[in-house]
Amino acid sequence: MKVMTNNNPPISDSVNDFIIERLNIAGFSFDNDHLLITADGNIEYYFPNPNTIASDTVASDLFPFLVGIDPLNEKEFPYIEMPNGVIVDAFIKPTSAGYDVVLIDMALQRDKHQQVQQIANVVSLQKDEISAENEAKSKFISTFSHELKTPLSSILGYSELLNEPDKTGINIAANANAIHRNGIYLLNLINNVLEQGRADIQQTTITTSPVKLSDMLDSVSYLVKPLADKKKINFSIHYGCPEDFVLVLDEQHLCQVLVNLITNSIKFSQEGFITIEVNYKDNELQFIVSDTGIGIPEDELSTIMQPFGRAKHTRHIEGAGIGLSLSNTLVKLMGGDLSIQSKLGEGTAVTVTVPTTNAVIASQLNGDAQMSINRQILVAEDDEDLVPLIAYYLEEAGYEVITAMSQDELKSELESNQPAVILMDHNFREANGIELTKELLDNGFSGKIIMLTASSGEAIIKQAMNAGCSDFISKPIDREKLHKILAKHLND
């Protein structure tokens, strides 16, 4: 094939043909009526079916890029991908008879260029995403700091009042209560952030234990009811199942979810009602937290559960913090489900379901049989401050307490008593609690031994269990946990 060149080709025809083949150049001449006169060069490369290029084919039928343009002006279109997939640079040049269209294959170059541009564009998109994320994070931090200030200022205010005992009319118990409540509320806020961090790196662990439903909801209510009262919102709990059901649950995380949902409801309500409905059916516990608040617009329902790290649009998290997205994450981790129904201006209902097992009615558990149970506990602990506190916790729960602050005391107490449980300090003065446990069990102690440890290191716990301990409690000692663990070991 011969290509149209000027009259004096500087290279031989064979070399010329070779170049044309390698470069895939083709030229097409059209007359002033846009009809094809001649075609030359490596035409098969562009039109594998030669029928499409019969003479007097209309130019724009062959080359759609000619539509709309005036070919009598010289033109160049780099990197055109034609409908049939070929990639060319197209040159349009006027001639005495009409105009020529020259195509040069650019597939390789375009692909290279494309790879580079792709990287540049993706980097640019990621940069935008990161800056949106950072914006969301700093907004979150300012919202969060603001939220921290509310309970903190209550704590500071009430504790100041406690320092003025001379003034009459100060209700110390109520003030202490308020401090405690705000402290827990603060802890809940901080837990949210920590928990979100853990969930982000998938380190949250779900720990279940038997929990009495009403106990759990009472502690939630203790925390949130005063917040609702302050805004004159009516807060109530409705049980669709016995209140004293004992279920196996991750109490800490479930409380966190409920507190988050209710505080959100309070935040977005000006008046009206907030209710928690509790139902239990087929090993599934269901909570419906509903409010008569401002509601959520329909188009935001799907994005509202994104945590700040992933939210494409930051304004959703304003005020709502990470409570909702975190609650959703936690519920999913528990194997449950969280869903939202909402109507703008009417209110929102969030339904949480979590799988659970072993529903027992607590009142049946603590029947008459309980009276004959040995409820004596020996506290083997050498910390002078801690002993009376533990003793107080135990006595308030109806246990009989004996204490031993040294190994000698322990041995002499055991000569005259047979406690059901020994709470054994891991570092019991001069002795190692684990060795002591082994010794007591070897010498025929028939009760249970529960290790008190300042560390929650797995190695120590393993050692304690291997030595024959029935359980462990980590310090600082949580009152409810203490009660729960003792109840567990004294009931089975």
Binding site: P64, E76, P78, Q114, Q117, N121, T303
Partner: protein, 163 residues
């Protein structure tokens, strides 16, 4: 049958290629593949007054502002679709600038203003009244679900035929 050139323009990754793929092949891909240069497609339509029209669609890469080479791409267009990404407010700014360079290059021809990725359900900033007024039609689309895609091309075809 009349044949008209139209262009689809806007910042990169707003979904120009995806809108065309949805319209021409009824196909969508999550994957992002940068367009370099321009890709041509054709599609035939019938307008409401019964005119058969063949659209030659120029999918123009949107990485930078219209460079000299890109300006040549827009030549001879009877209309264009100006796209921004509802999830990236920045791309609405780009759309304004691109619109200005196009008007400078080829004067005013009909265009449809499109906010794409409406499936993401994001409440994006509204475009300037000025830009909306100049457009012959404004709508929200999703190349993913197909929402508004055929309407976009139809609206432009109508405007091109009657203009």
């Amino acid at each position: 049958m009349i044949t008209k050139k139209i262009c689809i323009i806007g910042d990169f990754a707003v979904g120009k290629t995806s809108l065309i793929n949805r319209f021409v092949d009824n196909h969508f891909s999550e994957e992002y593949l940068t367009t370099v240069g321009v890709k041509l497609d054709t599609k035939e339509l019938v307008t409401s007054n019964g005119t058969d029209i063949k659209l030659v669609i120029w999918d123009i890469a949107g990485a930078d502002e219209l460079t000299t080479a890109k300006r040549s791409y827009i030549d001879g267009a009877s209309g264009y679709i100006l796209v921004y990404d509802l999830s990236r407010p920045k791309t609405l700014e780009s759309a304004k600038q691109i619109h200005a360079s196009v008007v400078e290059e080829i004067g005013s021809v009909p265009f449809v203003l499109v906010g794409n990725k409406n499936d993401l359900q994001i409440t994006a900033p509204e475009p300037d009244a000025d830009l909306v007024d100049k457009s012959c039609h404004q709508l929200k689309t999703s190349a993913l679900t197909g929402e508004g895609v055929a309407d976009t091309f139809q609206a432009l075809a109508e405007a091109v035929v009657s203009g």
